[in-house]
């Protein structure tokens, strides 16, 4: 359905004024930076401030030389550390997304089927942790998981275990942290999708002899496809480049690409290498971002 916006009467100039400011802002501070990252990813590392060599250099009097090199990329592909970090990040993000779905789907479903009053309360409870600092919530897991932490103390007191479990600074801790932090991002879009569901379809299916699980599998699950995709994308894409959680919970062996980028930049001052890592990460993630955008477009089209 096409709605003619009344403000279109303002004409091009009025419209232009409204969108020009945010447009230019994002162009300058969001898009142009990527061009610079791309440029620096082709530069040589230099012991200077800033620590890279210019791409364009005056040689002699009037000739300008362009020095493009692929050394940084070649370096990333030959050193197994970086390849491993990339693959590991994708693996960790994928498993975390699946875990978030397994935990988050029943929650989103439960909220969508609750009475309106309960529903608002439960939604508030999902959103509330999201408003408190991510850093502090990740920090809370250090206190829970460490050797003399809460979980170990409780299990020891109950006699379930006889010596503390080693949980902190393991992949397990990292998965817990990522699933915990990203769960609301999955629940909210999924809930928004399930909320629009026509539950009479389920009743009809059951009247026609479907078992509840069959009805769920054949009706609810396919109809909530866009919610599942949008929520999964909101978890998967940022989780691939996650830095804070592996840095705090994962221990020294948690090789995630976001951490590699951080270390190349802050510890090694290798800005060109960090830029090349960022470009490769971007190339990996852009298809998923475009997918996310098309899912969103479909969702808002179906909402009209």
């Amino acid at each position: 359905m096409r709605i003619l916006p009344p403000l279109s009467k303002v004409g091009i100039s009025g419209r232009g004024l409204v969108v020009t400011l945010p447009y230019l802002w994002l162009l300058l501070f969001f898009v142009v930076p990527f061009v610079i990252v791309l440029k620096i990813s082709f530069s040589d590392v230099d012991l200077a401030i800033p620590p890279y060599k210019p791409l364009l250099e005056w040689v002699g009097q009037n000739s300008l030389a362009i020095k493009v090199n692929f050394n940084n990329y070649a370096f990333l592909f030959t050193d197994p550390l970086y390849v491993h970090a990339f693959l590991n990040s994708v693996k960790v993000a994928f498993i975390s997304t699946v875990l978030c779905l397994l935990i988050g789907y029943p929650i989103a479903y439960g909220i969508a089927r609750a009475t309106p009053t309960t529903r608002n309360l439960l939604l508030l409870l999902v959103v509330l942790p999201f408003w408190t600092s991510l850093l502090l919530r990740v920090y809370a897991w250090i206190g829970l998981l460490k050797a003399n932490g809460v979980i170990n103390n409780v299990l020891l007191a109950l006699g379930v275990i006889h010596e503390p479990l080693n949980m902190l600074y393991t992949p397990f801790a990292m998965y817990v942290g990522i699933v915990y932090s990203y769960l609301p991002f999955l629940i909210l879009p999924l809930y928004a999708n399930l909320e629009k569901m026509d539950w009479q379809l389920l009743e009809a299916a059951e009247d026609l002899g479907c078992r509840p699980w069959q009805a769920f599998y054949k009706i609810t699950l396919p109809l909530s496809r866009n919610g599942i995709l949008a929520g999964s994308m909101l978890v998967f894409i940022p989780a691939v480049g996650e830095f804070v959680i592996p840095a705090l919970l994962g221990g020294p062996n948690a090789l995630m690409i976001g951490r590699v980028l951080w270390d190349e930049f802050f510890s090694n001052r290798a800005w060109p290498v960090a830029s090349a890592v960022a470009i490769l990460l971007l190339i990996l993630l852009v298809p998923f971002m475009m997918w996310y955008q098309s899912v969103q477009a479909r969702e808002s089209a179906s909402a009209r």
Partner: protein
Amino acid sequence: MNYRRSFFITTCLAFGFAFLYIPILSMVVFSFNASKLVTVWDAANSPTLKWYYSLLHNEEILDAAWISLKVAVINACGAVILGTLAGFGLARFEQFRGRFTLNAMTTAPLVMPEVITGLSMLLLFVAMEQWIGWPAGRGITTMTIGHMTFSMAYVTVVVQSRMATFDIALEEAAMDLGARPVKVFFLITLPIIFPAILSGWLLAFTLSWDDLVISSFTSGPGASTLPMVVFSKVRLGVSPEINVLATLTIAVVTVVIIGVSLWLTRAGKLAAAAAAAAAE
């Protein structure tokens, strides 16, 4: 049949919310623990407020909090202006040049890994300094610009979805009665989308207040935000003062979020009542 399913779902909800809230509750409880070991409860001397006292006298944390507050407030105001314009434009103007690009540019920051955004921002500031001499060095200004760029995307989404649900006839009526577009925006559109703008402001404030990665890239020496100080402390292990900080944060967030949602519900009911009265 129905009972079994709801039993399963109720169990999932119970475990899910326990998972979400146990870490938060543990920080609140241990903020009152006297022991420096944090997670070992010192029954003889607890509960105590001594870590509250020491946090409120910790100069490093207080200075960082003050910087974070300044950045967050300026960021929220700027992001709300940019995000409202973008959200309004995307929701109201069906076609304009660059619509696709603007849409993509306001969606991408929502999912972009922060390390990429942070690095690219910093490299832009360095390049700009070389070319035009601004910004000279990095600090609060560059951090605020970085925060505004990603938090305006969130405001855009919030405003855009609110715009999509409200009745366009209200604007048309005002136009038919002779109001100029700008007047319509300020008298009709703005009050209606105000809840979205308020949530957008709070969201932008929180995103900035919590941000570690983009701040670390775009900040300079001497401008450490609260998350930067917390991160460097937490890397060394647990600290009782951080539990206190978390408890204070949770208290403020809970009061503000519940207050705002109650207020918005009431405002919504009043508006509905007024609309019903007008319809009679």
